[in-house]
């Protein structure tokens, strides 16, 4: 198992910083899919990766109102997606700045049930989905995907 959520990720091989705007989700999927293929994920796992990252980012976008932030808060409103290779497993950490009270209050795209539905879908696609509050507000969500034959970095076994 890698570091726990909140302990800080291993060194990211790819870091994506995006404003919380719905029209940017397709770009996020494109980038993570390319990184996943380069890391050795097969086609099915790449699709799982795209769905998982997109759902988590969509949740953050819904919770920040989808306006992409404003004024001086633009930079801190951004969603950060880190992709890293940790002992043969492909890890993803997504950090947003949505305050917990905003999650309950702002809902321009869907209901709380929609969000739970999306995260339940993610949980069934990936390994070790975990989330934690972020100091200063927001959430850190992390999960893993293990390319076949590369679990724990041991490579294929005879």
């Amino acid at each position: 198992m890698g570091p726990q959520v909140g302990e800080g990720p291993p060194s990211a091989s790819v870091r994506l910083v995006v404003r919380p705007e719905p029209n940017l989700l397709s770009t996020v999927r494109l980038v993570v899919a390319t990184a996943g293929r380069r890391a050795g994920l097969d086609d099915e796992m790449v699709e799982d990766l795209k769905v998982a990252v997109s759902e988590i980012c969509a949740t953050a976008i819904r919770d920040t109102g989808g306006a992409g932030g404003n004024g001086d808060k633009d930079a801190e409103a951004c969603i950060e997606v880190d992709l890293f290779d940790d002992r043969g497993r492909f890890g993803v950490e997504i950090r947003d700045r949505c305050a917990p009270d905003e999650r309950a209050l702002r809902d321009p795209f869907g209901s709380a049930d929609d969000r739970d539905f999306g995260l339940a879908l993610v949980a069934s696609l990936v390994d070790e989905l975990d989330a934690a509050d972020r100091p200063g507000g927001g959430f850190v969500t992390r999960f893993w995907l293990a390319p076949q034959g590369r679990q724990d970095g041991s490579g294929p076994t005879s």
Partner: protein, 114 residues
């Protein structure tokens, strides 16, 4: 990638062909189209997902909403999909028990007639 929606009528059926990616950004467009079809009196819908490259939970929610609307008029909503990556999303969420999913438009139209 934007969402491409095309509608054609065949008998009592309205066939909605969906192309592109269905996510938080594009799903409202699909929702509006389904609402428009039902408002116009099309209660037997076939939604062709063969050209959909990506579908998330928002898109699933829109399809469930469409199903509820046609059922209010004793209608039906049949799906056409053979892509494993899309079918997987329906299976995981248990929606294969909610939506009739067919391999072709012809099968879907026959399915709604049963």
């Amino acid at each position: 990638m934007d969402l491409d929606l095309k509608v054609r009528k065949e008998g009592d059926h309205a066939i909605l062909t969906v192309g592109g990616e269905v996510d938080v950004y594009t799903a409202p467009k699909l929702r509006e189209k389904l609402i428009q079809l039902v408002s116009d009196g099309s209660y037997n819908l076939v939604v062709d997902l063969e050209n959909v490259d990506f579908l998330d939970s928002t898109g699933l929610g829109v399809l469930v909403g469409g199903l509820k609307r046609v059922r209010n008029h004793d209608g039906s909503l049949q799906l056409v999909c053979t892509q494993e990556k899309i079918l997987k999303i329906f299976r995981i969420t248990g929606l294969t028990k909610v939506f009739p999913i067919h391999g072709s438009i012809e099968d879907a139209m026959a399915g709604s007639a049963r």
